[in-house]
């Protein structure tokens, strides 16, 4: 059976805000529902049954086991639209897109929606492990005495709630601390990080001012623009910020050149190419191929957030492409130094050179923010539009690093 083509028809996202800000009271499900409803309105899909919706969130409450299905039921889509949850940390959105694109290519569905949402404001807080064990034991107990006994081992400290942390399970290091090791190892200077940060803000601000996001973002809770964006920031202002990650004189990672904890959601509308044409839908770009990679970061041999550098060469070779072939390159800016180290590593490994004039030309996570699972659909929707505007055959590469030492990468091509 010949594979079909999966194309990006369009996208929608909420504005992204800093955690604890204007979306503080919205759950991941609220955000995802809003992003879906904006997409539904943009493409007149109210009441329509879609092939499938796939999405996810990184910070999930236990009630969110069916996050995407619940969001679909809360949206204007037909309740007959099936939904599934996907999870690859910050790569969730792009992996969800891969899921839907592959189902379209395999002739299982004709269209679908994929993306993700995250609320760092509404992160789940859980009880301590010993209290949890005691509660489970008590629930199994047959008598009141046994039920009370179950809590005998619980001390006062165990009653404190456990807030979420973005620490790596196996190294105990926070994302920032892990990246600080990478920053030092790859000798990424403070100046280079601040320059990339400035470019991200300037590029995103220009895109907003030019109306680029008019058909990519729908306001939510009275917010109609990304609130982390600082159009007026300068190298001088960025240089004044104190390092927050890393130790010693060479500590260079600041709140400016690291992404903020964010709230938001993003989705893309995908369809089979011919089906989209028959329905008059825009066909912005084909999802050519995607690839996951994983790094051996636990032993310290490799870097936590540089797994995309393992995926990209595989992706390029399979599609007979080189870095020079791409018109746009989107490297998720988890930290400025992540994107810069990724570029350095690709060069060092002989994969090729990233032309900086093609990098994140409409801004990326440093300026927009990074609601973890939303980033994939943010990038795919924007890139597909950029490719479509650039013209037929233009190519885009996406690289997204994730917790757990993984990377999700993709190639898109304008139709």
């Amino acid at each position: 059976m010949a594979l079909r083509n999966a194309v990006v028809v369009g996208g929608n996202r909420t504005p992204f805000t800093k955690a604890g800000g204007r979306f503080a009271d919205a759950s991941a499900q609220d955000l995802l529902t809003s992003a879906l409803d904006g997409l539904v309105a943009r493409f007149g899909l109210a009441g329509h049954q879609m092939g499938q919706v796939s999405a996810g969130a990184v910070l999930k409450h236990s009630r969110d086991f069916n996050l995407t299905r619940e969001a679909v039921l809360g949206s204007a889509l037909s309740p007959h639209t099936p939904a599934s949850d996907v999870g690859v940390a910050c790569g969730t959105g792009l992996e969800a897109i891969t899921t839907i694109a592959n189902k379209i290519r395999l002739n299982q569905i004709d269209n679908g929606i994929a993306g993700g949402a995250d609320s760092a404001s509404d992160a789940p807080i859980v009880v301590s492990e010993s209290l949890r064990q005691a509660m489970l034991k008590a629930s199994r107990a047959k008598s009141v005495v046994d039920r009370i006994k179950a809590f005998a081992a619980v001390g006062p400290a165990d009653l404190l709630p456990v807030p979420p942390a973005v620490n790596e399970v196996r190294t105990g290091l926070s994302m920032g601390e892990s990246q600080a090791l990478t920053t030092r190892k790859w000798e990424i200077s403070r100046e280079a990080q601040d320059e990339l940060t400035l470019a991200s803000h300037q590029n995103l601000a220009r895109a907003w001012d030019s109306g680029f996001f008019d058909d990519l973002v729908t306001g939510y809770l009275g917010v109609s623009r990304d609130t982390i964006l600082r159009p007026d920031t300068t190298l001088e202002k960025l240089a004044k910020l104190k390092p927050v990650f890393g130790r010693g004189d060479d500590a260079s990672m600041t709140a400016g050149n690291s992404t903020a904890m964010s709230d938001g959601a993003a989705v893309v509308l995908l369809a089979e190419e011919e089906w989209a044409r028959e329905h008059g839908w825009p066909t912005l770009a084909r999802i050519i191929d995607t690839q996951l990679g994983a790094s051996d970061y636990v032993t310290g041999a490799e870097d936590l957030l540089l797994a995309p550098t393992r995926a990209i060469p595989v992706l390029l070779e399979r599609n007979d492409k080189s870095l020079d072939d791409f018109d746009f390159i989107e490297i998720h800016e988890a930290f400025a130094s992540t994107a810069l180290a990724t570029i350095k590593a690709l060069e060092k490994n002989g994969v090729g050179t990233v032309d900086r004039s093609k990098l994140n030309v409409n801004g990326s996570s440093l300026a927009a923010g990074h609601p973890f699972a939303a980033t994939g659909a943010r990038i795919v929707a924007s890139l597909a539009k950029m490719l479509s505007e650039k013209g037929s055959g233009s190519l885009g590469l996406i690289s997204i690093c994730t917790a757990g030492g993984q990377g999700v990468t993709a190639i898109l091509e304008a139709i």
């Binding site: 809003s34 539904v40 309105a41 109210a46 008059g280």
Partner: protein
């Protein structure tokens, strides 16, 4: 503002209401709205040799009773021996007077004879609908004067009728048939015309190639038709979108990106689509067309566009700079002209259909002027000039261009007016209340009705016969 809220709170308490009623501020009549016919019978009076009124009512499937006529032999005496005009029983819901045959001053007496019994005889939210020959279609000075004289009667009885009843006049031009008149007559009879009072508009013969029809489903005349509404995220625009949606349209709701959240909610509620667009963008017309073709089908065309988006930047002229001046004219008038020009290209995919309807929003401020609104009045009077000119220009194509001119409508915008001024504004009309956004919407759906091809170049005020600009 604090004083206003206190007054308003007081006014809305039981004792406050009682005092207000004693002071003459009675609760206004509750108006019949929507696709509802009068509950009482429709009385028909045909004055002198004409029949288009009867024909139109028959076309609409409406049974009629004969109107009572106030002549000496029909009068009775009351207990004190005074003459009493004949009395309706039951009360009719509407009186339709076909006065299209009147040419002489003396014949106006015939109008008086049928109007008098109706003045206190109609049910609540009743209707007086007068049909007359347009002055351009009659010969002789007296006949032309009579034609205009009838409007004087119309406007006056609009002010004299009580209980939410209205009076309106439709002038028929040469060749206007029952089919051409049907949409206006149905609109006027139904609750849809609740806040249209003391108005007169002209119905002509629809243009060649106008595929509108009077036989379409009267409750859902827009089924299968794409209707574009700008400024649709809230207020009157959202009501326009919802009213078209109710009547079967596929609605394309447009508003600025900042209003996207409300806009998408409106679009999804109606099963339509949302387009986030600043209508002053140079490529706005093309982006509308592209959206229609991409979202609703490559072969779909726009049946109607409602240019509702508008802004106010009020300042006395003494304080008005070029920026506030320009932005209002740009949004309220210039953008509309540019968008129409693009969408009228028949070769443009997603553009206006060969047969189509265009509606602009004028304002009583444009009709009469309003202190602090030179820029707004210029733009809104400009919209009136625009639809008159378009009606002249588009003679060879079955496209109509009309406007509505809202008076005081209850919206978030008017809710911001201080209480006392607001209460004065909303009561200084024949219906003694503010209109609802849906009232404006209903007048617009009437103008866009497939059967309204004969209504062209008209400006209909939706103001409850406001004293301003009357």
């Amino acid at each position: 503002m604090a004083g206003s809220s206190f007054l308003e709170t007081l006014y809305n308490t039981g004792p406050g209401r009682a005092v207000a009623r004693r002071a003459g501020l009675t609760d206004p009549p509750k108006l019949r709205r929507g696709h509802t016919m009068p509950s009482g019978p429709v009385a028909l009076a045909t004055l002198s040799n004409s029949g288009v009124g009867a024909e139109t009512l028959a076309l609409l499937g409406i049974d009629t009773v004969a109107a009572l006529v106030d002549v000496a032999e029909n009068r009775t005496k009351d207990e004190r021996g005074r003459d009493v005009p004949p009395t309706y029983s039951p009360r009719p819901g509407a009186l339709v007077v076909d006065a299209t045959g009147l040419r002489e001053i003396g014949q106006l007496e015939l109008l008086r004879q049928v109007l008098r019994p109706a003045m206190k005889g109609l049910e609540r939210s009743g209707r007086v609908i007068i049909l007359a020959a347009d002055a351009s279609t009659v010969d002789g000075l007296e006949a032309k004067a009579v034609a205009q004289g009838i409007d004087g009667i119309n406007r006056t009885i609009g002010k004299e009728l009580r209980g939410g009843s209205t009076s309106n006049l439709v002038y028929l031009s040469d060749g206007a048939s029952a089919e051409d008149l049907s949409s206006s007559l149905a609109f006027l009879l139904e609750g849809r015309s609740a806040f249209v009072d003391g108005q007169a508009w002209r119905v002509s013969c629809r243009k060649d190639g106008d595929d509108g029809t009077a036989t379409a489903d009267r409750d859902k005349p827009f089924t299968g038709r794409v209707v574009v509404v700008t400024g649709a995220a809230r207020g009157i625009g959202a009501a326009i979108a919802r009213t078209f949606g109710r009547d079967g349209a596929t609605v394309v709701a447009i508003d600025v990106p900042q209003a996207g959240e409300n806009l998408s909610a409106v679009a999804n509620e109606l099963g339509g689509s949302a387009l986030q667009l600043d209508i002053t963008a140079p490529d706005a017309g093309n982006r509308i067309a592209t959206h229609v073709a991409a979202v609703h089908g490559a072969d779909r065309k726009i049946w109607a566009i409602v240019h509702n988006a508008g802004i106010t930047r009020d300042k006395m002229l003494a304080n008005l700079d070029e920026k506030l001046w320009g932005s209002v004219l740009e949004v309220n008038l210039a953008a509309e002209i540019r968008i129409n020009a693009v969408l009228l290209d028949e070769n443009l995919p997603g553009g206006l259909d060969h047969c189509a309807r265009i509606v602009g929003i004028a304002s009583t401020s444009g009709v009469a002027g309003n202190k602090g609104q030179t820029n707004y009045a210029a733009s809104k009077a400009g919209v009136m000039g625009l639809v008159w000119a378009m009606a002249d220009e588009l003679v060879d194509r079955p496209v109509t261009a009309n406007a509505v001119a809202p008076g005081f409508i209850e919206t978030d915008m008017t809710a911001a007016i201080p209480f006392v001024s607001r209460e004065i504004f909303r009561r200084t009309n024949s219906l003694q209340q503010g209109g609802q956004p849906v009232d404006v919407a209903e007048a617009i759906t009437h103008l866009c009705d497939p059967a309204s091809g004969g209504v062209n170049g008209q400006v209909i005020r939706v103001c409850g016969q406001n004293l301003v600009g009357a």
